[in-house]
Symmetry: C2
Subunit: 592 residues, 2 copies
């Protein structure tokens, strides 16, 4: 049976030693002293490890069951949900006026990683509620906020996002769900939505569906899409629950993983809904929350990698198999532990260096979202918009690969469900797909974000890397181990961008054919930058003689691994990109 | 529901245009004229697509059930097994004296790819029987051969391989199963074996278990392991079935995939067994069949990639989503098919260029095994021994990754079991683990095979590549697109080998820490060589004006993709390798 320990020390290191959040000048950050964040993270770690994690395998094994229109969640989910409610975890970064604690998103992200690592399928019920509440917060009228937010912040009611239909997922302009005005300010919503996570379940009194639909007579395609609030139970004037609305779960999908979450086909049959935001501006309303939502999915990639790594590490230390070729390490045992073997070590170091680098990247991303929201910092907003597809695409691709590596450490036992490692792989797989499949992230990055605001944000990123290297150069060892690899990787990224500029104009496919490689190249440079920052922080602390020297030395070793063993991928991605569109597009579709 | 079409034309191209098998001078190959091989492949394709493939999802959904000691296979498996028996498919490459058709292994490999692609879990019942029969053929007494082989070749009886125990998989020296002589030439086998594929089922009259066990008083560790034949039902003198033996299935494992195959815990309780081969030489007997068995697993990697690709391609042509940025391709429809998008094309080309390259690599490997067995060609034997871990490790890693890519093409539908793409990923995952986990393959390659016979075989490989490039240079376009990338990749491989030689002596971890990267580097060079050979064959046919020009042009395009987009991975692997042991091993195990 797998276990999970919340990486609070690592999180504290990133928050305080690396990001130095209390000095960041972002409103609300001054309160985030180390003792305070430590207390929150310890509490979150306790509920993650003690309450959510033990239900992870249960959720996978039992799944959700639809009977007579009611969805039964796995044994124990309802009690655990009550505990999450009692702890007020969903309101951590929500406004106080709606019952939240108004903390910055960087804290919500750190806590979210723990919850997701402990039980991704379970945490999605809360995560979707948080997302839907954020959309109402950003676009709702005062009355809508007053009606829905307190109940959603408290988790008495949960929320969903309804975008996909059977014939369209990415291309939502083809949507068929319609919303007909009923003359009283409400609309009658009719259509079928699929892949609706947490669409129906038995853990909340009401479910608030946010539904994209077209108002007849509006513009064609994506410009005619509006967003609606469609509660499962209508809400009376006094806030009590009224009649059941015309929305029902038609089916629960059988999926590869996240069995504990009910993925529903939702049928809307003249269900009463209310416009959220403006008519025909539904996509814009949905996209307001996109950076946050996609960061949340990238976080899931990290979370599954982290928990899978922890278990692979335990197994590698426990399982005796073979002998260290450089000399027996466990002479009293029948064999040495797996961890003595260099190829097992390679796999563990891949996982460890990814998880720690990804955590820094995510938390840095969250600070930029906070800066954008709380300090109206347009530069931070631009930079995090640029990096969002990288966070989502790179961290979920790599996160998945790391769960596969962790599973591999278990040998044959990794393939047997009883050991729990297969679940991490199966659960992690979804994050590469939902909230915009990773190919769409790459398209967003190269097709939209790179050139946004005249390329200002990508230039800012390059300046940031260059500035960091310049400021911190001078220590021969650190230069060689950290700054030079980062500089080389960053040059590859610039060369790739240059290739797109020079060749994308004459044929956009020269850029698009390299988009996926560019997303990964960018991801490696970001993790390289994070490791350089973490290495620097560790070096400083060692020089100061403060804190746990072994912890900092371990950081330096882990970072060196990333620099030496993972960053060389950038040159490969660049070579692929520079081969241009022709090898990719040369073959006629008919001749495949 | 997924579909499968056997790639007979591609196989014929490799067998005849590329490998030119009838001129290979290997006994039995002279009969393999194009018409003859085509007839076999067409028949195998029919049973694969028509009988085995429709049962693939059934097997996944129903799985195997153990009740009162009896294992029930999924609906339809028994009938399909009868059809495979009737067709004589298991005896294709078995000797005529035992009821086989005595064809070379290259034909068994081509047919095996089809069967595995159509239904991997089902085909394993036959594959393990084939493997066990091969071991009896190589090491059995005449009496053992006469007793077991005709029934195993015909599939009236099936076979299994019993190596793993709960506490040891790779490190079989720790084995506890014991074999006590009973004074009559037989042994009493007692112990527990796990992960026994096809260990118990309802499709055959008898099951012949090959079991590794230790005879008390023998040498310690791996040198004290012997191999035994342990039939489920004892066989009477007259060949009829006698008493039930003391072997029983204790449990069927719940696995990530290959649900249609019964993976059993097998309990041996003083079961009667007979020594196969010599006392204490069990590992050697097992290893005789290793090249063949590992090639068979590599083949599974290709097979799952091929069938997943075929379905991803169909979906990419059918599913309408978004518009081609360079101009609308389907003006009468609501959107263009997915295949117009460069990133979808990248994914499909990755899959296609892998599958076709892997097929050539596998069939080439099979010709070397044939040359070794049929022509006693020691050089071929040495080269295929060197390449076996590459075939197994690289093709299953890449094969798995390709199923993940194929699944991704389906977007959200790829995650829903109903669409069948998740099964390819889940089924393909096992091939990276069994028959020696891929990390063990890398260790075998770098720790044993590279230096075997004084490094003679790896030198032969380099000479082969060099010779090929030299012989075929001169066409400017072909040189630039094919030979130069191959040369560069091959140089990276040589540099990696050189690094190991120069640094592995002072610290073997300098080699072992790079073993996994070396295996992948080697795999890319092999596929590069295969593509250069296929490109050359296509170019010749185009120049001759014979055959289907579009087919050959497509081959050239696909090969160019591999060269331009996949081969650049070699430089990355080299860089990782050259960073040596220190980044991998520097961190103390206790500090992870």
């Amino acid at each position: 049976m797998p276990s999970y320990t919340a990486p609070t020390k690592d999180m504290q290191f990133v928050l305080h030693d690396v990001l130095n959040i209390t000095a960041a000048g972002i409103p609300g950050y001054d309160e985030l002293e180390a003792d305070f964040t430590s207390a929150i993270l310890e509490e979150a770690g306790k509920i993650s490890a003690g309450v959510l994690q033990p239900l992870n395998v249960v959720g996978d094994t039992e799944g959700c069951v639809l009977e007579n229109g009611v969805v039964r969640t796995p044994t124990g989910f309802k009690d655990a949900f009550e505990k999450v409610k009692e702890g007020g975890w969903n309101g951590l970064d929500m406004p106080e006026e709606f019952g939240g604690q108004n903390m910055p998103q960087v804290m919500g992200t750190a806590v979210g990683e723990m919850f997701s690592a402990a039980n991704q399928a379970f945490t999605m019920y809360q995560g979707l509620t948080h997302g839907a509440a954020s959309a109402i917060l950003a676009h709702g009228t005062d009355a809508q906020k007053a009606t829905y937010l307190p109940n959603m912040v408290s988790l008495d009611w949960t929320g969903t996002m309804n975008l996909t239909e059977p014939h369209c997922g990415t291309d939502l302009g083809m949507m068929r769900t319609k919303a007909e005005p009923q003359g009283d300010g409400s609309y009658a919503i009719t259509g079928q939505k699929i892949f609706i996570s947490a669409g129906e379940h038995d853990m909340a009194d009401n479910i608030i569906h946010l539904v994209l639909a077209k108002i007849p007579g509006g513009p064609d395609g994506i410009k005619g899409v509006s967003l609606f609030i469609v509660p499962k139970f209508l809400v009376n004037e006094d806030g009590s629950l009224g009649a059941r609305n015309g929305v029902a779960c038609g089916k629960i999908e059988e999926k590869m993983g996240i069995h504990g979450n009910s993925t529903c086909v939702m049928n809307y049959d003249a269900a009463t809904g209310w416009l959220l935001g403006e008519e025909h501006k539904g996509m814009r309303a949905m996209f307001t929350m996109m950076n946050e939502a996609r960061l949340g999915v990238g976080m899931q990639g990290l979370a599954q990698a982290e928990v899978a790594y922890q278990n692979a590490l335990d197994y590698a230390k426990d399982r005796l198999q073979g002998r260290d070729v450089t000399g027996v390490k466990n002479p009293d045992g029948p064999a040495d532990p797996l961890i003595v073997h260099p190829d097992i070590r390679r796999s563990l170091m891949d996982q460890k260096s990814f998880a720690e680098g990804a955590r820094a990247f995510l938390l840095w991303g969250a600070t930029m979202i906070d800066a954008a929201h709380r300090a109206k910092d347009a530069d931070a907003d631009g930079l995090v918009s640029l990096l969002t597809p990288v966070i989502k695409g790179f961290l979920t691709d790599e996160g998945y690969d790391m769960t596969v590596r962790a599973q591999q450490v278990y040998g044959g036992h990794g393939y047997i469900e009883e050991w729990g490692m297969s679940q991490y792989t199966r659960d992690a797989r979804i994050a590469m797909i939902y909230e915009g499949a990773n190919g769409v992230q790459a398209l967003d990055l190269v097709g939209r974000k790179l050139a946004q605001d005249g390329g200002k944000h990508v230039m800012a990123f390059f300046d940031l890397v260059k500035g960091f290297i310049k400021e911190n150069a001078g220590d021969e060892e650190f230069d060689a181990q950290y700054l030079e690899p980062l500089k080389a990787a960053s040059k590859d990224l610039q060369a790739a961008g240059m290739y797109f500029m020079q060749n994308g104009m004459k044929n956009p496919n020269n850029a698009l054919a390299g988009s996926y490689d560019f997303m990964h190249l960018f991801g490696h440079v970001c993790l390289g930058l994070m490791w350089a920052k973490m290495g620097l922080a560790a070096k400083r602390s060692l020089a100061d003689g403060t804190g746990d020297a072994t912890f900092y030395e371990t950081k330096l070793m882990t970072g060196r691994y990333y620099m030496a063993r993972r960053l060389p991928a950038t040159a490969m991605h660049l070579a692929r990109i520079q081969s241009g569109a022709e090898p990719v597009m040369g073959l006629e579709a008919a001749n495949f």
